[in-house]
């Protein structure tokens, strides 16, 4: 397989697929719509997961695990919820195979039909709230602050590696509270955790906002979201945090005795991010040579490539120095790797690590050592310079921080350039077709108008930004009065 990627300009979508496959992040599988996450992709996910997990625990959450299967009747208990998920459910109907008595090989045993079908969880509100019923009697049992790392299945018809797959990995927080206010506070707190993660770790700036009714989670009273912008000018929903009101508590009859000894239904939130974030990370930063990974999440932060000549002694010195550097960098918590594989040439390695998005590359040759220096190349800007060996680890640590910040800044500038205020329908369509990005425009607040705009332009309301400026205006489609601008975009 050639390592050359289709360029972004030529075919952005193909560039993305090439990058995921050739960058060794994931592979197609034999099961329709399901992917294989390869070791390099999984190492990236582990870094994301571990950091998110730390942030969840710092905000008081604990992990737990609930069943993969949901009885069909449970899914049906919350009307909007089942409406939202019914069309993409994988259904288990039998629990045994057997040898076909007619010699047709292994078949499903018709005698092993389940009395009630089981749905492979598309999300776990129903199975979790059926459990919380047993955990909550009084306000003293609240809040419940639980998160689950799990696989879920949504039978999507059109799939894309990481962005939309039939099975994906995610975390889903499910919390239970005594008051409406406390639940809303939790919903907003977790949105802020996601935004912080996206910006400080993924180096992806995000808009914090609230979804319109059309785009709300099935069963939520309010869906908060973070929205990111990709290099092709399309938006991507990177995480959602839902205020569920008392909907699931009512569906599963979860009541509690409050401080005044009165019974009330429990208030709920749920919030999730998934392996989709890997797609967002890749599309936000990478270039035609390959991945560009933010240092804080890159599986390998620094790779050392030796430039050998025929002198065996010099070679030994290079090896010794490289190994010493890996150790020293490791002591500072920097994930460094020495690639001394002598079956491939330095040029091949340079291209390979560019493809893999390793943030910093050190090249060490005999002459470098004589001059007490190394060649340092940063992946994001491709700048090269010579660094003195003295104080090198501190300089590398600074460089990694610098790259992290500069990747964020670049993405932020890009997003700002691609966010356009428009006040007329013509301009709205023109920007969407020719510039892309977020379009900030007035909308009359009705679902009907939102749907019409979507039909005409394929753009959706990504969100109503939090702390939005109130401003009188007229809806770009209907001309009806509006009190604030919302963000439209075509989206993944």
């Amino acid at each position: 397989m050639s390592n050359t990627l289709t360029s972004r300009e030529q075919d952005y979508s193909q560039w993305y697929n090439d990058l995921i496959l050739k960058g060794n992040l994931a592979d197609y599988s034999a099961v329709r719509g399901c992917m294989v996450i390869k070791p390099y992709g999984f190492a990236l996910w582990e870094n994301m997961r571990d950091q998110l997990d730390r942030m969840f625990k710092e905000t008081g959450h604990q992990n737990a695990y609930f069943p993969l299967f949901i009885p069909k009747s449970f899914l049906s208990k919350e009307a909007a919820h089942v409406e939202g998920f019914a069309k993409e459910c994988a259904v288990v109907t039998h629990y045994r195979l057997k040898n076909d008595p007619n010699g047709g090989g292994v078949i499903v045993d018709p005698d092993a039909k389940l009395e009630e079908e089981l749905i492979v969880r598309p999300t776990s509100e129903t199975i979790i709230w059926s459990t919380y019923k047993n955990w909550v009697q009084s306000y003293r049992d609240l809040p419940i602050l639980v998160n689950q790392w799990a696989n879920v299945v949504r039978w999507e018809m059109r799939t894309r590696l990481f962005l939309r797959t039939a099975e994906f990995l995610w975390q889903e927080g499910h919390t239970a509270h005594a008051t409406r206010e406390e639940a809303i506070e939790e919903t907003e707190r977790m949105l802020e955790v996601y935004a912080t993660f996206a910006e400080e770790y993924m180096a992806v700036p995000v808009i914090r906002g609230v979804k319109s009714a059309n785009e709300r989670f099935a069963g939520a009273e309010d869906t908060y979201c973070i929205e990111a912008l990709m290099q092709d000018g399309k938006a991507l929903q990177a995480g959602t945090s839902h205020f569920l009101g008392q909907n699931f508590a009512k569906a599963f009859d979860v009541q509690f005795t409050d401080r005044d000894n009165k019974m009330d239904y429990v208030w709920a939130t749920s919030w999730g991010v998934s392996t989709r974030l890997i797609g967002a990370l890749v599309m936000a930063h990478s270039d035609d040579q390959g991945l560009i990974l933010p240092p804080k999440l890159a599986p390998t932060q620094v790779v050392i490539v030796p430039i050998y000549n025929k002198d065996i002694d010099a070679r030994q010195k290079i090896d010794d120095k490289a190994k010493e550097l890996v150790k020293e960098l490791g002591k500072k918590g920097i994930r460094a790797k020495f690639d001394n594989d002598d079956t491939t040439r330095p040029g091949w390695k340079f291209a390979e690590y560019e493809l893999r998005g390793v943030p910093v590359r050190l090249a060490i040759g005999a002459r470098d050592l004589e001059n007490n220096q190394v060649e340092v190349a940063r992946r994001d800007t491709k700048e090269k310079s010579s660094y003195a060996l003295v104080g090198l680890t501190e300089q590398i640590a600074d460089l990694l921080e610098n790259i992290q910040k500069s990747m964020y800044q670049k993405a932020l500038t890009f997003r700002e350039d691609k966010t356009t205020k428009v006040d007329t329908w013509e301009e709205f369509v023109d920007i969407l077709d020719n510039k892309g990005g977020f379009v900030s425009a007035h909308w009359d607040g009705t679902s009907e108008t939102e749907e019409k705009i979507k039909e005409k332009t394929k753009a959706t309301i990504r969100c109503i930004p939090l702390n939005n400026t109130m401003e009188e205006g007229k809806c770009i489609l209907t001309g009806n009065p509006s009190t604030q601008r919302v963000l439209f975009a075509r989206a993944y």
Copy 2:
């Protein structure tokens, strides 16, 4: 719910269930055979998982993720494998629900039937080897050293929390090698990793051995195992490591070009441990007052309980000292918790933390502080003593190590006492019925005899110990010649 447990003597099986439920490790779920792992149980699993994961990475393995679903035809490709798993497969047949046009609520949409049924993975050899086919061309692509943390489903008819559940969490390593020798070496290496983990972290001594043909994994040439002994004298298989030969490479046509440019099939291993280990941990150490957790895995290692009197100043001093201690212990990497909840009394807390198996409890009252000491209670032996505040953290660190070792030693002594050599059938039956534990006896090596012994006594061959002494003898059942003793036991 009362916190009192059924005693082991009264009903060992009920004691175990009580302990899992009241110790807050897990809960039954609404889905037959599936459990909910509660936050306390999951925190224990996280400690086990993280340590195993470190050990896998230290031995060169990387994590990856493969699909939850396996096409039915894949499972059928290895004859012994499908034979072994067919009877306990959850089968997905449809991918959509819809509203019943006749008003019967939400039903499975008959138009959304899958062309080929999908099996929810009971284990992943088949889907993984169908993928490895694309990853391996030459010996340079080998070895592949991959592990997966995942949920799997085996539709067991009789389930027990943690010990045997329809869905469970586990890890499954799947490695690919160029030679038979290398694959066997890997199989043995991973068995040793499991044994080390069981003994050094779980404080559970294990016998390392090889399974007889009857007990072999479906599709393996050899199954290595570690076997532990529970307090009721029954054995429990705690982990298995399989040498798969070329069986799966042949089933999925995974060939490679070796160093001599000849084609050969790839050699395979797989190895796994699961949440079953939590059941083993609980049954090996706990007592009638509750869990006894080994310090290295306990979610909370030290709990500090304040003994308040009416003096507010003294109370403040206790709080300050306790918080300082939590911080100091934390600096030494000790997971400590200060329970200053004043809605419950110290006696209630003592019982609660005994139930939860926290290894060390510190009680601090006003008089203790005046005397510059605290009361220290260890959970395993229930011994109490006074420790000086000076140098306390070092002493606690030593105590935790001491508890870890002494738990292992106690379990080892128990196992040695419960391992009996027998040479006659009468003695064999007598020991199984009246003493329990491992019975070391001669066996003629045939599956037929093994099955007859199982029918008559419910005992199975747990393993043929590694490095077994060769010794001429006569099979306890048939009197036929035998070359070595094997270990029998009744087992979970």
